[in-house]
């Protein structure tokens, strides 16, 4: 080890790449061999073994276990990523979903029961959202947005209307405009009002006969309920346009208020947020789409229907009016089953309690932090709130510094630099599953960071110090683009670059 390096608490770093551990003959796995493979001839012209590392079972287990120790999960502690709803993922849901493992989707006798459960989930989501129909096939939130916007597009196409503009408030997630583009729309960014919500009286100037829809997130990414949403919906409907709702923040209002009752025509929910299925380090998620009756016939194929004997089957071929398929099979089925397990586990009172406590926990944090950090919007908030680095910046301490410093206190940082309407935003969503001690520990960490930013701002630039590695040079990565271990710039046998 070269001089000047700190003594790390993570002997895993750097964990050599798997190919570095490889040596011919290490892997001694016994493969199930029910058939006589010597009969197979002429399949491979190249003939050589596939290009993979040759490591033992112990090598595999140690390697990935060491890697796992470099991660931070929800079972470690608070994960206050705003608009991501990182709540505890119940273990029972994993256990139940694992029962699907050996069922093939073409195993019709076995699928009857699965489809019945999926149908039940559709109905539960319709009830929770106040919508009339549902499709579970989108595999993630952005996939749900895309599917929903394709449904809206189809509704206009069928009517022979060529509306192409979608209005998107400046607080929206980046996926909103990206999904609209792929669905063939042009997006127009519209400013939210001075109080942090969309001003219905200001919406009129943007409405014209080319406006297909407004895409809104409610509560929005500032954690503020769009209090004029019903009026906004009426204005849109009078203009012949639809109201799309990004359901990323549904956790705040679950069991309390329903998007369908607010005038929403089409929306998606994120099962991996509100309904507690794990994020998996970036998926698999699930982004079911829900619509009002008028749009139901455009939903993606296939459809779960009852057959003559009362069982559940898929109507496989797209109907004439469906947008078609959006997934090769049934989306992330086992994620849906986890969400079903979660809803059944909590029941109606539990869902409402979750929303209530999610808001309570966020408001508790906000009450205790608002005097230490800049709070750009005084408007009441629900399940999340946004602070900024305005007070710290004068001393050279940025949101990035504070985010990285939180790692040294054992927390995952909040969402940073988003929403874009707040410079240096820190968007905090604790969720309902955080215990009071954890909230207090987070407050203590933030207090200490605020104090350090006053007394020793330099120190914060060096954070994190207690994480497995120090700050990563993302510019270097983008400039050099080393995306596989075969890249000739990686020296064989060496640990990295």
């Amino acid at each position: 080890m070269s001089g000047g390096q700190r003594v790390t608490r993570f002997p895993e770093i750097p964990e050599p790449l798997l190919n570095v551990r490889s040596a011919p003959g290490r892997n001694k796995r016994m493969i199930p061999a029910p058939f006589d493979a010597s009969v197979v001839e002429g399949l491979s012209e190249a003939g050589g073994p596939p290009s993979l590392p040759d490591v033992s079972e112990v090598d595999t287990v140690r390697h990935f276990t060491r890697l796992s120790r470099l991660n931070y999960g929800i079972d470690h502690g608070m994960y206050p990523l705003g608009s991501c709803t990182m709540k505890y993922n119940p273990k029972i849901a994993e256990e139940i979903a694992a029962r699907l493992a050996r069922i093939h989707p073409a195993d019709a006798p076995a699928m009857g029961r699965v489809l019945k459960c999926l149908k039940t989930l559709e109905q539960m989501l319709q009830e929770i959202c106040g919508m009339d129909a549902c499709s579970l096939w989108p595999a993630a939130g952005a996939h749900g947005e895309l599917t929903g916007m394709m449904v809206i597009r189809k509704a206009f196409d069928i009517r022979g209307e060529k509306r192409r503009t979608v209005l998107i408030p400046d607080t929206a997630h980046g996926t909103n405009p990206a999904s609209c583009t792929i669905a063939g729309f042009v997006t127009k960014n519209i400013p939210s009002g001075p109080e942090g919500y969309l001003d219905a009286s200001a919406l009129g100037q943007h409405l014209n006969e080319d406006v297909a829809a407004l895409m809104i997130t409610n509560p929005n990414t500032l954690g503020i309920f769009e209090r004029e949403i019903r009026v906004i919906a009426d204005l849109l409907h009078a203009n012949g346009s639809y109201l799309y709702m990004d359901g990323a923040n549904l956790n705040a209002v679950m069991g309390v208020a329903r998007p369908g009752d607010m005038g929403v025509d089409c929306m998606h929910v994120n099962l991996h947020k509100t309904f507690s299925t794990p994020h998996g380090g970036g998926g698999p998620g699930s982004g079911p789409v829900l619509v009002k009756k008028e749009l139901a016939r455009f939903l993606p194929a296939p459809f779960i229907v009852r057959d003559e004997s009362g069982g559940f089957v898929l109507r496989a071929r797209p109907s004439e009016e469906s947008i078609g398929m959006v997934h090769s099979c049934l989306g992330n089925v086992s994620v849906c089953i986890k969400a079903l397990t979660y809803i059944l586990s909590l029941g109606p009172s539990g869902l409402r309690e979750a929303a209530t406590v999610a808001c309570l926990n966020a408001l508790y944090l906000k009450s205790r932090l608002k005097d230490l950090f800049d709070l750009p919007y005084a408007t009441p908030t629900l399940h999340e709130f946004v602070l900024s680095d305005a007070r710290q910046k004068g001393r050279g301490v940025t949101t990035m510094d504070m985010a990285k410093a939180l790692m040294d206190f054992g927390f995952h940082p909040p969402t940073v630099y988003f929403p874009l309407v707040v410079a240096g935003a820190l968007m905090i969503e604790p969720t309902e599953t955080e215990p009071l001690e954890e909230l207090d520990r987070f407050i203590a960490a933030m207090e200490e960071i605020a104090e350090t930013s006053r007394e020793d701002p330099e120190k914060l630039h060096e954070s994190p110090r207690a994480a497995p590695i120090s700050r990563v040079d993302e510019v270097w990565a983008a400039r050099n683009l080393i995306l596989t271990w075969s890249d000739e710039r990686i020296q064989p046998g060496e640990k990295g670059i």
Binding site: L43, L52, D54, L100, H327, E432, V472, S486
Partner: protein, 434 residues
């Protein structure tokens, strides 16, 4: 069940700190008219044992189903590693300092996928093979001079359906379908030659949906001469264990479904879309990608890179809207490939091929021959009427996937798949009952 920790005293402390008298006051900013007065009509609450009782699922006794979703041996280490909460409950690795586990595993996944497909780079995953195809088509259309998409009719029908859905809004005048030779089940090379031009992006699945291995050298010769962009679609990733790497034929992109790598059938999902390409296309590739970097002390580190293509930076100009992908499925694939190794992957692939040949032999003895004569990997199409198929299913034997809905020209037939999960006895059971 409730996963909220607060007891009464703690709740009171929270309410006092906020300065409200009752929990419901947190919703004061929601207009009264929009509140939902009644309890939600959903089931529950249920205790865990009731959930276990109510949510039971069982597969059929004997199955020969594939068609893009495959049942394969999964080493026990895959579940053991993938169920570690450090991997399963983590978020997308935007904060690399505390996400090195996910990031390095993704980098290794990318490395192994690129190696197996014979391509230079791979993204971090897509939703499934079908959306990978749709995204690859959009990627092709972003290239200079590409204006139309052609795909072989023997490409998985659901993939073509998803492709059509995605392209409905691009102003394309439809997708050109290249027919197959009704005798061999292979692509009609003459039709291929005639229907593509430099403004075409061509996609060919091999082994194709009928299980037939396409004549890749001839296809590559035509594609490289006539198409502006071309891609190979793989729906059975295990075929990469024994067939020539598609990258050897020089395509622009190799994409498809890698569920076979350590991910169970799961009643249809989650699946694992993959997309591998050449370095020159890196900046218009969709999806996340992990890259090597270093930390401020010069140590090996990984982070998400090329993010200037992505929705959170580029918004409406992004190369794709994808955000959450299939991270844990990619991790499972990485652990699986590590556990299987080069010899294991090859042996498992050979077992699939051997099993298909064994079953074909048994069926042949009873006068049932595959509809197509082209060479297969582990799937093949046999004639079977609906009554026979339903009868078998009733007895717990699922003989394959019926094709008539997608291919009326073939008639009553099923796509039958054999893997190393089937036994000789199961094959005999099917053959004896057909």
């Amino acid at each position: 069940m409730s996963y909220v920790s607060h007891n009464g005293a703690e709740l009171r402390k929270i309410l006092e700190t906020i300065g409200i008298a009752s929990p419901d006051e947190v919703f004061a900013s929601i207009p009264e008219a929009l509140r939902y007065g009644s309890p939600l009509a959903v089931g529950g609450p249920e205790d865990e044992e009731s959930l276990r009782r109510d949510l039971a699922f069982h597969p059929s006794r004997v199955t020969f189903t594939g068609g893009g979703i495959h049942r394969h041996y999964i080493p026990a280490v895959v579940d053991a590693i993938a169920s570690r909460q450090e991997f399963s409950t983590a978020y997308t690795p935007y904060q690399p300092e505390i996400s090195q586990g996910t990031l390095q595993a993704v980098f290794e996944y990318q490395s192994m996928m690129a190696g197996l497909t014979g391509m230079e780079i791979s993204n971090a995953s897509m939703y499934d093979g079908a959306t990978a195809l749709a995204e690859a088509a959009l990627m092709a259309l972003r290239g200079k001079g590409i204006e139309r998409i052609a795909v072989t009719r023997s490409t998985q029908p659901t993939y073509r359906s998803v492709l059509a859905t995605y392209l409905a809004h691009t102003g394309q005048d439809g997708i050109r379908e290249i027919p197959f030779d009704p005798k061999t089940g292979r692509v009609d090379l003459r039709a291929l030659e005639e229907s593509i031009s430099p403004d075409t992006a061509l996609f060919v699945q091999s082994p194709n949906y009928f299980g037939v291995i396409e004549p890749m050298e001839q296809i590559a010769e035509i594609a490289s001469r006539k198409a502006g962009f071309w891609g190979v679609v793989i729906t059975e990733a295990l075929s990469l264990g024994v067939l020539t790497s598609p990258g050897a034929f020089g395509p622009d992109v190799v994409l498809g479904e890698a569920q076979s790598f350590g991910n169970p059938a799961n009643a249809g999902g989650p699946l694992l879309g993959f997309l591998c390409t050449r370095k020159e296309h890196a900046r218009r590739m969709p999806g996340r990608v992990a890259g090597l970097s270093k930390d401020s002390e010069g140590r090996q580190a990984f982070c998400l890179t090329l993010s200037t293509r992505e929705q959170h930076i580029r918004r409406e100009k992004a190369t794709s809207n994808i955000c959450t992908n299939q991270g844990l499925c990619a991790l499972r694939a990485a652990v699986y490939l590590s556990a299987m190794g080069p010899r294991g992957l090859r042996e498992a692939a050979l077992q699939c091929a051997a099993g298909a040949r064994y079953l074909m032999g048994l069926l042949g003895d009873r006068g049932i021959r595959p509809i197509f004569s082209g060479p297969v990997f582990n799937e093949f199409v046999i004639p079977m009427d609906e009554g026979k198929r339903a009868g078998l299913e009733k007895n717990g034997i699922v003989p394959g996937i019926p094709l008539a809905g997608w291919y009326p020209e073939i008639g009553r037939a099923v796509l039958t798949t054999v893997t190393e999960m089937n036994t000789q006895e199961e094959c005999r059971c099917l053959a004896d009952n057909v």
